[in-house]
């Protein structure tokens, strides 16, 4: 079933703030095996010009994807999430995410297309800090594969 094209351009209210913890950053860096000291050592991060430890570039996806999940789960949109795969992912950074940030995400459906029975959804998540400053924008392309004929 093709999705309702009128959802293109729709924005969702900002999420509740997510507070970025230094131990969560450490856990993530260890999980990807990245020993860069900017992720775990505040002095090393300061030597690079950052006020505190920073997060690896893809860390913020956990936050933006959760926000996108609220879009995907919108019953009015009618997306079958069990058929969804992650197509593309892109980030544009104004600055790196860092410990102590309280981040909110505002999600917008940029485009909805149907191609060969697949529904393709482009969601943009704008991430702002507690001062309202833009931190990063995340673009997520989700592809809902066509249902097999019974």
């Amino acid at each position: 079933m093709a999705l309702d094209q009128s959802f293109a351009g729709r924005s969702y209210p900002p999420t509740e703030p997510y507070e970025v913890g230094r131990e969560k950053i450490r856990e993530f860096a260890e999980a990807v095996g990245d020993a860069n000291p900017a992720y775990t050592d505040a002095e090393a991060a300061k030597a690079l010009g950052h006020p505190d430890v920073i997060a690896p570039p893809t860390f913020v996806f956990a936050i933006t994807f959760k926000a996108a999940g609220e879009v995907v789960a919108d019953p009015q949109l009618g997306l079958d999430y069990s058929r969804v795969v992650h197509g593309d992912q892109k980030f544009a950074y104004n600055r790196p995410v860092r410990a102590g940030d309280r981040l909110t995400v505002t999600s917008t459906i940029e485009t909805i297309r149907s191609m060969a029975g697949n529904d393709i959804l482009d969601i943009r998540g704008e991430v702002h800090d507690q001062d309202g400053e833009h931190v990063v924008t995340a673009w997520t392309k989700l592809v809902a594969r066509a249902a097999e004929e019974a």
Binding site: V32, P57, A62, D88, Q89
Partner: protein
């Protein structure tokens, strides 16, 4: 920002040091916990096969996280990354053995841009197959 690579010293075609990243089932369980992505295709072989996959596959975002390390290890400051995007073209299949899979990543400078930035094009393969497409980062150099 203090990047250890100077814009003036980089040409189009400059190759970044390539790296290989091993992935085992344990790696995926750990990444699931750290990222909050508990989709069972990344840890449950029975479920993965039920939905038509050959075996458990790595999180696409795990592969994305590893690929950018070729860039961040090159420049030193991960905060120098201005843009980063990938297309997930093929899954990284991770068998249930002690070896798991290996992701091989190489990168080279594809364009010199304004404001001391360069575009790096990344290539990520596993078992001889490209697993990321259109994998590009823009990074600010010193």
């Amino acid at each position: 920002m203090t990047a250890k690579i100077s814009y003036a010293d980089v040409e189009v075609g400059t190759e970044l040091p390539a790296q290989t990243f091993p992935v085992t089932r344990a790696t995926l369980v750990r990444y699931a916990g750290a990222s909050g992505d508990f989709n069972p295709i990344h840890w449950n072989e029975r479920f993965a096969k039920e939905v038509g996959l050959p075996d458990v596959i790595a999180h696409g975002m795990f592969t994305m996280a590893e690929a950018i390390r070729v860039v961040t290890d090159w420049v030193g400051d991960p905060g120098a990354v201005v843009e980063y995007g990938v297309r997930f073209t093929r899954p990284v299949v991770v068998p249930d053995d002690d070896l798991g899979a290996v992701i091989e990543v190489s990168g080279k400078v594809a364009a010199k841009l304004d404001d001391h930035t360069v575009r790096v094009d990344l290539t990520a393969t596993s078992a001889g197959q490209k697993v990321l497409g259109m994998s590009r980062a823009v990074v600010r150099l010193g």
